[in-house]
Structure formats: structure tokens, C-alpha cells
Symmetry: D3
Subunit: 131 residues, 6 copies
């Protein structure tokens, strides 16, 4: 028994179909990823996830590629294979090269290392960093 | 008893002093953060941490502000107060505005949310994302 | 310098004020928690966070106390002091006793223990749990 | 070479057999999950894990389904596939519907989101939440 | 209002007192840490935590200092300040020097780094590591 | 499309080949693990990862088997299958028995449990553990 079943367009109610249609239109694609089809098992989750992703990933003061790469960095840090692969793919389509990915993971690496060392030595805040 | 003591320049051996000097010269500062003074309790850790941070944070295909902001994103994700505050400060000095920080955390937020949903529904990889 | 400043009602724009007003009305309170005042530094984050929290925490098939206690469980698991204290307080106001909290944390504890053991021994899925 | 081998009843010593027998009797099952067979590589771990799980999951002030669903929530949060699938299955057998699972994951989602935002903005405790 | 109150000996029931007495006798101390006093809010949690800690930390194939240092390593990795300080103190009392702590954290550091890189590059298992 | 491609010796530049050669010589092996071949996509990451691993894992005040087992403990705690399997294998080759692994995971287990309980009850530092 699969852990959760995808909700296909043909079987979806109007609330879910409306989100699927909007995802396809926004992204210019014919079909949507498994991600959306599975979280559609709970329609309010689908709706809020899509709205918050759309809002957060729309170019603003930060551009679209930058945002995709931050998404990759967080997913690598959390070890989420699905999101890592999905957003690495998206970032590559927007121009991320192997070298850029290499530099990105190198920053994730040193940030994580610094987090561990700050914890391990219980390093106190510098005075100018305190509230 | 403090968990670990900072190693001050006056008390440091030549290996540690050489790193302190290089940090000050590279960054153009008179003193260094508590971070370096505490990890200097294990000189090889100080040396490797500094070398990998210097290498990873040097502008390459990605610019310096981008890299600082990824550092902030990972530290927020890991909940490391010391690194978050230290690198938010550094990113602000390189031009990160409140709006840019707001957009950055919004991306960290939706990435984390996606990681949780991908786990919670055990979403299978789309065919085009498989190895 | 504080890491982020709270946005007070008097200084907030109309988008933020509308959310503050809705939180106060929904919860029947005169003032709102620091949480909302700080994430208001990025108004779209405030709006989406409030909408998804409101949606997720509204009683449905699961009642309100159950949901608060799950919120407590996840925050304890993630080690987030702010959310843990805030939602433990909310759960207590809805009737959670010390004994119920004790049982809740005991479940978080054995779940975490099982997660660690499943990882540590790399335990394969039982046949009836496979997709 | 498998990472760890299951300990089958026929090959188990009396200390392990006693736990296996008790699990089967308590749960009314003919066989036990891989989980127990693998952690039996270290008999004291098997014994303590079983005793603490039995104690924590026995209905008390919180009922059995509630406890299973908290177990699911924590395992989803930690990304442990084995425990997530195993306890989602157990919760379904006790009456958890797809809608209830959807609401549960939605709470895990907003709790995690709140944890990230509380970290990212370094939100200070409200006065009434302080010790 | 403190998040949880310590349970002092004078106010404890016989089940809790019995565990307190055993901790004091086992460790040869006059008083016990806050840890035990707080988890005593749920007596079965106190009992199981103490029994599993006692069992796991008793010298066996691994000696006591080794075990304390692994406890420190995991607590540093999880960023748990209370446990990190408590068990670093215990390890020092058993002979851990600053140099040994430095080497320990260095291993935690490279292990974490390797975990992040293995995730970030989605490195496939070598053939001889597969089940 | 695989997420990242291994860099084979024949296709590697001199900087990468030099590291590969040093790994083979240091470890006395004919070929290197996938880990190194994948992180070689970013040569500076390969170089720093190797140097910091070599430094951290060299016997010092702590011996080699101790260090391998701490590596296993951290990887189990972080749920990194690749590193867990790779370093469990390495530890076994240095003499770690099933019983030693069982005791190791038991310590990881109680440490994690203590971390969760310290968070869940927000246990304050004992006076003698404060800075």
C-alpha cells in the first residue's frame, strides 16, 4: 500500500483543480510534479503551500535564480532528497552551472561546520552582536 | 566555569597567531570574533575552519553577498543563534536590506515547509528526477 | 542592535494592520505575541503564516487541544524554545494538565528514540509497509 | 553485506525471546516488525526500547490514537521513513482517516514553519512566557 | 511562570524518591541534577530515562569515558546546551582534557560535513556498502 | 539524469588527481569511494574535505577506532545512510564488534533522548554548569 496516493486531475474536486490550473499556467507546463498531487490529499495544505511558494519564489529584491539556489541549500541541509532534486533541476534550468552548485554546497558546508563548532564550544555572542 | 575559554593573542602559540593575523589582514579588522578565539582551543580545527571558510566565501561564480545570505539561510535553518547573528551582521554590511532579509527567510520557510510535506506524504520522485 | 525589531501597530502599514486586527479578533486578545510583530518585517510572510496557522489550527476532524499538543510536540522535537513555551501556554489554557504534557513528551521521546534506532541499524521496511 | 542482520526467534537467546513473546502477546500478532528484530542485536536496547514504548503508548490521560498520531508527527518531522510508515499504518488501523492525516501534517507543517521563523528573526520571549 | 517546575525530594512520591535515591547511590552524590528533577513531572519518564541511561552508560565493551564523550558528541551535534555542558563536565571529571575535547569536536565537525556533502551531491552507495 | 556525476581519475584535472593519489596512498587502497569522486565536482571542496578529514581522523589523544565510532554516532544521529554505512564498515575493519556497535547506538539513543527531554521540559542549567 503506497503511503499516500497522488490525486489526479480527473479525480480532483474544484478547489484542487483550481490550484492545479494555476500552477500549470504560472509555470507554463502541461503537468505538475508529484509534490502537488500528493499534498492535494489535504486541499487546504495544497492551497496554502502553493500560495506561499508562489509568493516567496516570485522575483522581488532577490532574483529567481538566487531564490532557487537558497531552496536547494536548505533542502541539502535538511537532507530532503525530493526537494533537493526538484529544485536543483529548476535552478539548472535557470542557469545554475556545476561550478555554481559546487560553490553553493561549499557555503552550505562551511555554514553547517560553523553551526556545529559554535554549539560544540558554546561560543558566547560578541558584544556587538547582542540585542 | 565557562564551557570553553577564548584564546587571546597574547596567550596563543605561533600556529594560532598566524591564523589570527591572516584573518585580521583578510578582513581589515583590528580584532577577531569570539568564534575564532574559542575554536583556537584546538589549533588544527582553527586552521581548517579558517581555510575552508576563506575558500568558500571568496567571490567566484557567486558573489560575496549571495554567499553571506546562503550562510544566513543555513544558520537560520539550523537554529544557530551565534552564526545567524554574526552573518546577518556581515550581510547587512555588504548591503542586505530588511526587505532582502525578509525575502530570504521567506524562501527558507517555504523550502522547510516543502521538506516536511515531502517527508510527511513520502512523495515519490518524479520520473525525470530519478538517477 | 537587536537582530530584528518588532513592528508596532502604530508604525505598521495597512496590510500588516489588517492581519493584526484579524488575529486580535479571532483570538479575542488586546495585543498580539512578539512572533507576529517580528515576522511583520516581511508583510507577505506575516500574511501567509497567519493564514496557514489559522487554517491548520481551526478545529476540523481533530480538535483544537489535540492540534495545540501536536504543535508542542513538534516544537519540543525541534528544540524551538519560543514556540514550545508559547504553545504549551496555549495548550494549558485549553485544558492540558501536567500529566497530559508528561504523556505527550513521553511519546515524543519514544518516537525520537525509534527514529534514531531505525537509522542506526538501517532497518529495512517490512514487506507490508512498502509502496 | 547488510548493515545489520535481523535476529530471528530461532536464533535468539532467552532475554530476547522473552521480549518477542511479550510484544506478540501485547499486540496480538504472530510475528513482530523488523524494528524489534534488528535492535535485538543489542538485547538491553531491545528491552529498554520495548518497555519505554509500551509505557509511553499505553492509553492514559491521552488515548491510543492520539499517541499514535503524535508518533507519526514526530517521525514526519524527523524524516524517518521506517517509523513514519509503520506508525501511520498503526494509526490507520485505529481509525485515522486520510482527512485526519491531512490535518495532522498541516499542524506539523505550521509548527515547523513557526520554529523556522522564530529562529530566523530571533524572536524574544514575550514577558509572560519567561521563567 | 516557569515552563516546568523541579520536583524536590520533599514533595516527591515514593516512585520518584526511589529513583532519586538510586541515582544518588549509583553516582555517590548528595543531590541530583535539574534534569532528573524536571523529568520527574512524569514519573514513568523519570524511571525509564534513568534505567536506560544507567544501562547504556555502564562500562561494557566500551569504557565509561568513551561513552561520556559520545554523549558529548551527540549533544553538540543536536545543539542541546544543557546536555552538552552536563556531560562535558562529567567527561572532564573522568579525565577528558581540552585536547581530547578538541579532537572530539573535530570528528563531530568532519562527520557533519560529510553528512552534508553526501546529501548535497546525493552520493550513491558504493557497491560493497549495499545490503 | 543523475543528480551529480562521479569524476573518474581519467577525466580529472591535476588538482583532483593529486588528492585522489594522496587518498589512495594514505589508505593503501586501489580505488576511492564514491564520496570523493562526487565532491570532486568542486575541486576546492574535495581538497578541504580531504585535508580536514585526514587531520581529524589521524590518531592523536584519541585513537583511530574511537574516532571512527564517533563518526558513526554522528552519522546515525543525522540519519545519513551513506556516511553511516561507510564508517561502520571502516570501524568494523578496525575491530568494532556487533556488541561494541550495540553499545555505541545505545549511547546515541540515550543522548538523543536526554536532548529531547531537556528541550521538552526546558530544563534550566544547574548553577555549577553556568558560565
Amino acid at each position: 500500500m503506497p503511503h499516500s496516493k497522488p490525486i489526479h486531475y480527473a479525480d480532483a474536486g474544484p478547489e484542487v483543480r483550481a490550484v492545479y490550473d494555476e500552477i500549470k499556467a504560472t509555470r507554463g507546463v502541461d503537468d505538475i510534479n508529484n509534490f502537488w498531487k500528493h499534498i492535494a490529499n489535504h486541499p487546504p495544505t495544497l492551497k496554502h503551500a502553493w500560495e506561499s511558494v508562489k509568493e516567496a519564489m516570485t522575483p522581488g529584491k532577490l532574483d529567481s535564480l538566487f531564490k532557487e539556489m537558497v531552496f536547494v541549500a536548505v533542502s541539502a541541509s535538511n537532507g530532503c532528497e525530493y526537494c533537493l532534486r526538484c529544485h536543483t533541476d529548476a535552478a539548472r534550468k535557470q542557469g545554475m552551472t556545476d561550478e555554481m552548485l559546487g560553490e553553493l554546497i561549499a557555503v552550505v558546508n562551511v555554514a553547517t561546520q560553523s553551526n556545529i563548532l559554535a554549539n560544540g564550544y558554546q561560543i558566547p555572542l560578541d558584544d556587538d552582536l547582542k540585542d
